[in-house]
Symmetry: C2
Subunit: 342 residues, 2 copies
């Protein structure tokens, strides 16, 4: 079903207000979820709101923490997220890191003790719109098996690279797993068979049974190389953020445990002039206009497709599963009741 | 055949001396080539020396340039490589960037107008041995087709991530193409058929004919994600270094054209204490010891296999194709003659 973006945004912000989240923080958190939903990343969209609310109720998320900042030199910020909302802590760090990047040429933040930061492309679009570049990574629960291994030991560890360009920036945002665990759950719910090579069962043997895969592990994307990349990001982020690693990571998929993953944001202020910026924009446009393998399926630049889906959602309304909309309405009603009784 | 490492190193350094390269620069360039050869990366090994010599003779490589440095803020270095030897310019930049990373927390160098920098793992090992982290990328001639495209428009753009650990660091070094063009040439030389999905012909159609693939393009690794990563690196490096982009990149595979690709080095000084370092080392060792999919084929951490091959080469001698050794001897003789006649 389609729901008006402003209606759903107001409803969800009010749900967070009722749970003690201040207006500025609620705006950031809900904007992130709505933007993910608008871009077609339902797994990072509004279905996350119930978990966020449950985590505040369980005391593992602090509704108004913004993070304690410690600088090492002018360009390295270490953030204790104080169990705050992931995007609130991250945006609070980014705002100072962006300024430091302008002053120092490059600057970074490594964050621990903060909650799920959601779709990385949201940060990439934000930083690139400011004329800066972003390299970002975040760790997650261990769901991926090492290449040539049997057990889930590596996170789905997404990587974001954003570079300003005209008319649109390049915004890469990709998990280093071949598919998401959400997709495996979707196959299991539909009773569908998995393609070969997607997953191992709990004993580490290849399986096409989605129910068996749920208890097992996901393949990395791109074989040995994708494994190496996901592992490198796991180790890089943990080493800088002082967060948990491997199978000890928790708190982005449950409602009870303190979230102990890590986030890394590196911001760079480009110093080359407008001719280099034009060269890059021209190149990206040449790619978009280049001869496609399949007529009618143009070559895309990372970020293009999500941005088109977003524009459609804004024009036609946000696409929501009816069950999710009913759940959001229920969350809204109980928020209203707690407010009235308070 | 096997050749003693010191013998081949001396021979190759003398070849560079005879072409006007100073002792310190020759040591850096030859160490990089020998290390690549020792690690089993023959395509980045000593076969590159003839091209380096030819490029000096053609005047497109300056044998003693070390690069002009311009700082933007305390942490961003822009380097004009002055057509110098790639590893000489890169190491000269890295030495100051490493110090700035210690002072600032993070620092970077973006390099243009410099020659092929070779195997990125060499820099990763070097920086990690100093207790620092490295993220490095370099662009290359456009050999890779966009996912869903037909023409070679993206470089093979390797990525390196190095993180210190005990007993060995993690050192990721991977091209973003599925295979190297060197491998395609090898199949063509042997008259062998390519596996499906490796390459397109010059018209952009899938081919298993290695000769047709040589004139065509390579697939990115990992499908759409690998394409997105390679492209993001192309755009990131070019935007920062002010280097050439896409099909305009030249000078790493020929002996006549000024090399116009770009290099990016980001160095980070970790601020977390020894307990985090131990956590990461323990995790990497758990991965190495985890249950393998194939008995006898242990799970590896990026860098492990190359390091083992290197140790064997150092102990047993450097593995060289006889033709390459004869070519190096010939280069050595003509260097000796030019020295005598000078």
């Amino acid at each position: 079903m389609k729901v008006d973006v402003i209606t759903v945004t107001d409803l969800c912000q009010n749900i967070l207000h009722a749970h003690g989240v201040g207006p500025a923080s609620a705006r950031i958190q809900i904007d992130l979820l709505v933007e993910a939903q608008l871009r077609g990343y339902a797994s990072h969209g509004l279905l996350r709101l119930r978990r966020i609310v449950e985590r505040i109720e369980a005391g593992v998320t602090a509704p108004n923490a913004t993070g304690l900042h410690t600088w090492y030199g002018p360009a390295q910020l270490i953030v204790d997220g104080e169990r705050g909302l992931g995007p609130v802590v991250a945006m609070n760090a980014l705002s100072v890191v962006q300024q430091r990047a302008r002053d120092s040429g490059i600057a970074m933040a490594a964050i621990h003790n903060s909650n799920h930061i959601g779709m990385l492309a949201w940060y990439g679009e934000y930083v690139a719109a400011d004329g800066l570049m972003l390299i970002a990574a975040t760790t997650s629960e261990a769901l991926v098996h090492p290449w040539g291994g049997r057990r889930a030991m590596v996170g789905t560890n997404p990587l974001c690279i954003a570079v300003p360009a005209q008319p649109e920036p390049l915004v890469l945002d990709m998990a280093t797993s071949l598919v998401s665990m959400g997709k495996i759950h979707d196959y299991a719910n539909r009773g569908a068979t998995l393609p070969e090579g997607w997953a191992l069962d709990v004993d580490g043997n290849p399986t096409t049974d989605a129910v068996a895969a749920k208890a097992g592990s996901l393949a990395p994307f791109g074989g040995a190389k994708g494994y190496a990349l996901g592992l490198a990001l796991e180790v890089l982020v943990t080493s800088l953020a002082g967060s948990a690693i491997g199978a000890n990571v928790a708190g982005t998929l449950d409602s009870e445990r303190v979230c102990n993953k890590g986030d890394l944001f590196i911001v760079i202020a480009p110093q080359q002039g407008s001719s280099v910026a034009e060269l890059v924009s021209t190149y990206l446009n040449e790619l978009r206009q280049s001869d496609p393998a399949e007529p009618g399926s143009p070559v895309t630049v990372p970020g293009d497709r999500a941005r088109r889906t977003r524009a459609r959602g804004n024009a036609e309304g946000l696409e929501l599963e009816e069950e999710l909309w009913r759940d959001l309405l229920a969350l809204g009603r109980s928020a209203e009741q707690s407010r009235t009784s308070a």
